[in-house]
Amino acid sequence: MAGPLAATVEPVTGRERRKRRPRPARLGWLFALPAVVVYLTFVIRPLLLTVQYSFYDWNGIGAATWTGLDNYVRLVTDPELSGTILHAFELILFFSFVPVLLGLAVAATIRQIAQSRLALVARTVLFLPQVIPLVAAGIMWTWLLSTTGLINQLLSGIGLGSLTRAWLGDFGTALPAVGVIGAWVQIGLCTLLLLAGMSKIDNSLYEAARLDGAGPWREFRSITLPGLRQEIGVCVTVTVISALASFDIIYVSTQGGPGNATMVPGLEIYYLAFAEREVGMASALAVALTVLVLLCVLPIQRLTRDGTR
């Protein structure tokens, strides 16, 4: 990682060494110390505690009882709990695949007008969903997707009145509807990231392809896609994490309902820990979620990083 920077080595004279009183190692760690301390206190310690809690049955107030792997067994056997993880995976489809694929399509189509004034305006506009709190996105869309909301109004307007429903209150559509909210939040970021990546691809490649008579599709497949490996990796990583760890949007739009149709690990942890006070069970689910995120993110990083960094 240190790269070629350390190539120049000069012998050290004794005088210099004496002048620098704190030894380099100690000095370096002194610089890192504040970061290390806050990190250990507010990330590593809670992380270890989560693992510890997960082996206990604890209501957060009284004394805790050691229960070994019971919480994990329940996590696997209780369909309500394991279902939350399935829901999170289903959300990946919306939070991740849809924005990345659509983003690719849009970015590829608008590549040639990337410098136009329209595109500059679009840069600002498409970022709005990234800037606002997810809670706000949830509130807006809850209203759009309600029985009397804009979506149903539009459907009725184009003669599809039979399709109208309470999107967030319907067992069949609640999870996809939540997914749509996530897709809305992510699509702008993905489009712009991919577009930025495309602008780094050498234009002469495209010109050459055109001269060879390549159509837009071939151009996309043989030039754009390979050139975007890293950006696609980033988009997928960011969006997959946001899907697996989703909380804000669901908290304000469905609270996990109807039934448990939109219950995701993040929300279930919150309910378990603070409403039902099953701190142990909540922690087991938290451990599972953390591991899951790592398991999903590491391979993506592997696949898309080409060792340049």
């Binding site: 504040p34 507010f42 329209l118 606002i132 807006m140 712009l192 979620l289 995120v293």
Partner: protein, 274 residues
Amino acid sequence: MIVTRRETLTGRILLVLLMVLTVLPFVSLFVTALHPSGTYPDGLSWPSSPQWGNFIDAFQAANMERLLLSSALIVLGVVPVSVLFGTMAGFAFGHLRMPGHRIGFLVFVLGLTLPFEGLITPLYYQVRDMGLLNTRWAIILPLIGLFMPFSVLWMRAHFITMPDELSEAARIDGASTWQLFWRVHVPLARPALTSLGILLFLWTWNQFLLAIVLVDDPAKRTMAGALGAFQGQWGTDIPLLCAGSLLILTPTLAIFLIFQRRFVAALLQGSLKG
């Protein structure tokens, strides 16, 4: 360049469509906010008599000025400290590269993808035992820790591109490491620092989970947490909720529009490095 006119046109249409899709929820929110308080308006419809007063009501109901102050205080508590600590550690890991820097850095990278939900339960008890529950410190201190992996990573990525010759020159002039850091490296790192500051500002301002778990009083929360409380209290009155949501969004939107170029650049780089 060889570009067919049809392609450009499709591109434009697609882009406009995407923008409309992005803006539509905001428009719907705005229009709904103008309907009489307590009604359930139908979809996107302009009210017969726009109730601009809803915004004033929502402003008062939400205690807007207190919310703004609270979020600002939290941001002031989180961002400068995070940037400073992150820069110092990034400098150490990226430039000083003392023994053990790789493993140290790796430990930070590990924290990068941790979902906050995975830590929130012990954090709650930890903050409670520190006696900080329901104070702004309950949000500020954990956030500094939680932002550390990203801050360190971000600043290290910057410092690793700084040529060693730079430091050598300064050392020959007799600068200590501390002076080297402040006089030479920090000024040069300004673009990276600004971007980091912007990202941390945004993430602090929009932090929801920590706010609702660790602080009960909306007037001591972040904007996003306050919005959650506002929905809890006024969620039954749709126009008022919409007006309040818009008000709560306004500061972020305003800051975003003013600093939009830095924002966009920061966000793009931010996700690339993250």
